[in-house]
Symmetry: C2
Subunit: 287 residues, 2 copies
Amino acid sequence: MPERPTTYEFDRGIAVTAHPDGGYAAELDPGWVVGGGVNGGYLLAVIGNAVRERLAASGHVDPFSVSAHYLSASVPGPATVETEVVRAGGRFSTVAATLVQHVDGVRVPRISTLATYGDLDAAHDATTDAAAAALHLALPVPELPPLEECLLSSDAPPEFKVVAPLLDRFGTRLDPATAMWAVGKPSRNGVIQGWFELADHRPLDPIALLMVVDALPPVTFDLGMPGWAPTLELTAHVRAKPAPGWAVVRHCTRTVAGGLFEEDCDVWDSTGTLVAQSRQLALQPRT
Amino acid sequence: MPERPTTYEFDRGIAVTAHPDGGYAAELDPGWVVGGGVNGGYLLAVIGNAVRERLAASGHVDPFSVSAHYLSASVPGPATVETEVVRAGGRFSTVAATLVQHVDGVRVPRISTLATYGDLDAAHDATTDAAAAALHLALPVPELPPLEECLLSSDAPPEFKVVAPLLDRFGTRLDPATAMWAVGKPSRNGVIQGWFELADHRPLDPIALLMVVDALPPVTFDLGMPGWAPTLELTAHVRAKPAPGWAVVRHCTRTVAGGLFEEDCDVWDSTGTLVAQSRQLALQPRT
């Protein structure tokens, strides 16, 4: 198979090297750290890239559904994605993949995943899109202020960026109405949305979407809970290949209870097509 | 540990017997068949019950998040739930569990899952519920017509029940406004909702909620697509222990595209508390 481009830092960050035992070696880049841990979306893209390599020969190179259960916090440095194909053939393949790191020689699992892959182009060919279109059942893209009126998250104060070098990877521009928590005035609606691109303009693709669904600040910021919100589980669905250009990303939560909240994420590409959805269950920050 | 009650058919249907190798033997009951396959929610409850048994000693007996990737259609008869603990201790345990059946002596995986369990009572104790309640961030229960004005799904025509004996397990009463597809007039809103209880009044609990999230007809019925909608992946979150009495269940979809649709399910208990959420990615029926 062709080598993946390494022109962009995202591709360097998610690069994996196949080992004969079905494992894929990765190097977790410290540039994707946020709040002392490595960003969960970036880790999901590393895993997703390893699964893609594992399934390359089958043609099932696009994630349709990836479910990740977060077991312990990853640290920058070497990691391995262990893979096992649990279903092969037909329209879809499913792989069980676990990101592990070795600490003092001991194998420590970080994230366990199940990933169902297929071919997004073939999926489109085989459908009754015309009937679906007639139903107008496509989640509409939210109306955002123009780019230049939105807030560049990498303009955050330097003291904040020390603990969140991640922000320099993104060109995220947040809708000001959903970013008032940054000046101590959270809307308390439980919504954060904005324009998204990678800082170096690396085009989005299905693997990158696995990162995009966890790229915005936790939606609990908008509820006046600025603390860290560890993810218990996140499942991402890639619904279409994204067109080039700025994406629109929307996070929302509807139920904070029992110390947990769900965070739903929808991602649209520059043409207004819904390209990814995710839901995560996360621990509510202490207030 | 105490034996589970077998007074109710649901408990008989999900009963498992531990084997020394970490596997749990189950007998998939033909009463839970729908359209030639065994209902995915029932299967999830069988798996969830095995995981519960596996984790009984840890006190992590409640599902918080269960992600299931459906690999092949199960058939009534013997099955085994293979389990492996991938994280133990702390507030949560995570188990990889696979439902398998043997066909002509060959092991055939049916459903691969990752399940994160904890203690729902402890989760409530450890939180800042007061702060969350002050935010009024709880998804409101939909307003349904009274029970007696809703449609009992087990009143479906006999010729339909032959292929869906599952219906006799449920006391589901559908909101007539979302059940007009039954008379050839789907609303095309992509919503099906109703009251839910098990036909024999077996009280709902966290394991039963794993079944409830896939107990209503596919939401695509309401889009004028009456065919079978195979689930690729379903993730269920149990958010609280349900109070006794009728639950309210709501299915909706917002995006049908590329031959796939997502089906979101929310479940409230009789007190209006949101007790479970799920999202599944399923194949759009051919129209």
